[in-house]
């Protein structure tokens, strides 16, 4: 399996090539093509590897080179190739490939076209380092690397103040997560004496639950930051400042899912601690619901999808919290596909409308760009969870799982499902149908996007349609890395330990076979309810925004406080800004003036002043008159003698 090293390094090579020669030789089309080739190669390689693993179900662990030695432990740059990483890698590479292709069209004519693809390739490299890692340090390397890439790409149009700020915000907020993550790594190292997953997994049983919980929670803190869960979610919507392919790739399909992947990757550790799992579940659920509510009332097309991303990530975490790691990963996959589709769709819309973002100003553009509309519709249906699209299979199974395990979570997720269906179709109708609110100038040269943009849409759309029926395959495929008893790299006791841990939370069997699941959910009460919910959401949106039976503004006024709360994103941004940005900055200013300038420098310069002052005092003794001199001599002599004569 040595060829696996190609997977991460071909994008890196592409990055280097573009970085060095991008502006001088390659320029507009060529650098894009190089990037696409680079990522395509790794996509092919990863698919080959995927097939291999799917056939055998083995895992491969390659150590590429030894990065650093601490005591007797070597931190190595390495590849762990097992079903889980294989799946994630494939998702990354394949989705990236299509998004790259899309981007070649999307970025046409941008003055820093090469830079964009250089950054993208860098991102893919870092992402692959993350997914392929077999130890926490390399994971952290990728983790930070994708953070850097996202910083660079969000700030790609850095001449915009908003972009620069968003970039900085995203990096710093991520750093908050990374801080916890790093502490987690340190604690893990101090605890286990190693950072390789496999060794850690096998050592888990020996360690007290408290420490395991601490490690798990600290690491999960990193995930919260990276996957933009409550309370560290605020950066993701602002990250939409970046070009749309970036939003699609980084902030929908891959990077933000890294947290989910990480939790699944460390499943044995999390499974060992009930508290950790519950936390994951709770955080996920809250995010799923709250983000959905935020998405209801936004008018920025990309932000709406961003909030839906938050919410869907919430579903994944909830799934993992419930112990349904397989379903979580499956939802990750499907979400990657249809959310990329949605973003690219909105991207092609933006191209057509010259980066007009406000959906209230759109409408009636579906006729002009059928392919976009069709694919977008498919994506929306998938998101809303309508069979037979993939979203239905991945999402509803999570909700059903929640019903079995925890009613409260179930309620929230259920409500979330309704809201999801509503806001995505609100977006859909307002954009493609409804009344014509579009500015006539734009209307004139409204056109369908070129093929290198539509083809990816079509491919992804078709994937959305068919992928759902491979659910069972996926779940079985993932068993060797997520099902304790079939995890080859666990020792026996570890298997038992992890199994117990899982079974504590995960005591529910979800129907794996897609057709059975479909049938079951069409027959069982719960399934019907869920389906009805989704349809209800769509219908409500249809009534309000297409038929215009009810005026949305009225509703807004009816639920004034609620509307304000949602519209202002639960005031998270304001509070954070007040405390951590403005507060911190002002506090620093004050500290600088008081602490450094007045107190410390006051003492330092003050001592100089004091000595000068005392110099002036002593100077007075040299009064120039002999009498004074001799008097002081007399005093000096008298005291000098007295010192000895009296003291002795």
């Amino acid at each position: 399996m040595e060829y696996l090293w190609i997977i991460p390094f071909s994008p890196l090579i592409a990055f280097v090539i573009i970085g060095l020669f991008g502006y001088k030789f390659l320029r507009e089309p060529l650098s894009g093509i190089v990037a696409v080739i680079g990522v395509a190669i790794s996509a092919i390689a990863s698919i080959i590897g995927f097939i291999d693993v799917a056939k055998t179900g083995n895992y491969y662990n390659l150590k590429l080179f030894n990065w650093m030695t601490i005591g007797d432990y070597n931190i190595a740059v390495s590849i762990l190739w097992d079903p889980l990483s294989a799946l994630m890698t494939c998702v990354v590479t394949c989705v990236s490939t299509f998004i790259f292709i899309f981007a070649t069209g999307y970025m046409k004519g941008d003055e820093s076209y090469p830079r964009f693809f250089a950054y993208l390739s860098l991102f893919v490299f870092m992402m692959l380092m993350l997914t392929l890692s077999d130890n926490l340090v390399q994971l952290f390397f990728g983790w930070e690397g994708v953070g850097l890439a996202s910083y660079l790409l969000i700030g790609f149009w850095h001449y915009k103040k908003s972009a620069a700020n968003a970039a900085m915000e995203s990096f710093v907020v991520n750093r908050v997560g990374d801080w916890l993550f790093l502490l987690g790594i340190l604690l893990a190292f101090v605890t286990f004496g190693t950072l390789d997953y496999i060794q850690i997994f096998n050592k888990v049983p020996g360690v007290s639950v408290g420490i395991i919980t601490a490690i798990a929670l600290l690491l999960f803190g990193g995930a919260v930051g990276k996957s933009a869960q409550i309370p560290l979610h605020i950066w993701l919507p602002n990250a939409m400042e970046g070009p749309t392919p970036v939003s699609a790739l980084i902030h929908a399909a891959t990077m933000v899912a890294a947290g989910v992947y990480m939790v699944a990757r460390l499943m044995p550790v999390f499974a060992a601690s009930e508290v950790a799992l519950n936390t994951v579940m709770f955080i996920g659920t809250m995010s799923a619901f709250i983000a959905a509510t935020m998405g209801l009332v936004q008018n920025d097309i990309k932000r709406i999808i961003a909030y839906s991303t938050l919410s869907q990530l919430g579903y994944m975490f909830a799934a993992e919290g419930l112990g349904l790691f397989g379903e979580g990963m499956f939802h990750l996959t499907s979400h990657a596909v249809f959310k990329a589709l949605l973003f690219l769709g909105s991207g092609s819309v933006l191209i057509a409308l010259h980066h007009l973002l406000d959906i209230q100003k759109m409408g009636q553009i579906g006729r002009a760009m059928p392919i976009t509309m069709g694919t977008f519709l498919i994506g929306s249906l998938a998101l809303a969870g309508i069979p037979p699209f993939v979203g239905f299979f991945s999402k509803d199974s999570i909700i059903e799982g929640a019903f079995e395990v925890n009613k409260f979570v179930f309620m929230l997720l259920w409500a979330g499902a309704f809201l999801t269906a509503f806001y995505i179709f609100r977006l859909f109708f307002l954009t493609f149908f409804s009344t014509d609110r579009l500015d006539p100038h734009l209307r004139e040269h409204l056109h369908e996007s070129p093929p290198n943009m539509t083809i990816p849409l079509i491919v992804l759309a078709s994937a959305t349609v068919i992928l759902g029926f491979f659910k069972e395959f996926f779940l079985n495929f993932l068993k060797p890395s997520l099902e304790p008893h079939s995890m080859k790299f666990l020792s026996e006791e570890a298997k038992i330990f992890v199994f117990e841990g899982l079974s504590r939370s995960h005591n529910v069997e979800i129907e794996a076979n897609a057709f059975h699941f479909l049938g079951h959910s069409l027959s069982s009460f719960l399934g019907i309810v869920l389906l009805a919910t989704a349809l209800a959401g769509i219908f409500t949106a249809y009534v309000i925004y297409q038929l215009r039976k009810v005026d949305p503004v009225k509703i807004g006024e009816m639920f004034q406080p609620l509307y304000k709360l949602f519209y202002n994103r639960w005031y998270f941004d304001y509070i954070y800004y007040a405390i951590f940005v403005y507060g911190y900055y002002k506090l620093s200013k004050v500290l600088w003036f008081v602490g450094d300038k007045i107190v410390i420098d006051g003492i330092v310069d003050g001592s100089a002043k004091v000595s000068i002052f005392s110099g002036d005092i002593f100077r007075k003794t040299q009064i120039g008159r002999i009498s004074g001199y001799v008097l002081q001599m007399l005093i000096g002599t008298a005291i000098f003698l007295a010192l000895f004569l009296i003291i002795r």
Binding site: S627, G628, L631, L634
Partner: protein, 171 residues
Amino acid sequence: MDLSVVAFWILSAVAVISAFGVVFFKNIIYAVLSLISVLIAISGLFFNLGAELIGALQILIYAVAIVVFYVLVISTVPEYKGEAVDPKYALLSAPFGFMLFMELAFVSIYGLWKSGTGIFMPQVVQEVSNAKAVAVILFTKYLFPFEVASLILLVAMIGAIVLGKKDIVED
């Protein structure tokens, strides 16, 4: 109560009183005169102690030579107006002067002074007069310092001349 005691008390009283005169007389002439009386009193004490040579030298060098200098200078310098002592400094110096005096007196009284290490017992001095004894020591053992002392006087003379010369002012 032999004579020397009386002489001591009288002479020392004179010396101290005229020393106060030196310090406090407004008129500089009186100050110089009281200096003379101090010197004479001191030489009297020398005689009283039996150091005739030094006593004589004292009178010769001081009462004649040096005081003449002073009188000369004073005669060229017109009489100085303005008060003799600066009261501020008087007030400041008095306590510390007293303190120093107490210390010196303490030392003088409680010091373990040696006695009779020398060879010039009274009877020896009886035979060879004090003058001779001093002279012998001065011109044998202390010849070298004596020569140097002459150099000092030479230097002082030159200094007095060159400093007192007119050209120092305009030239």
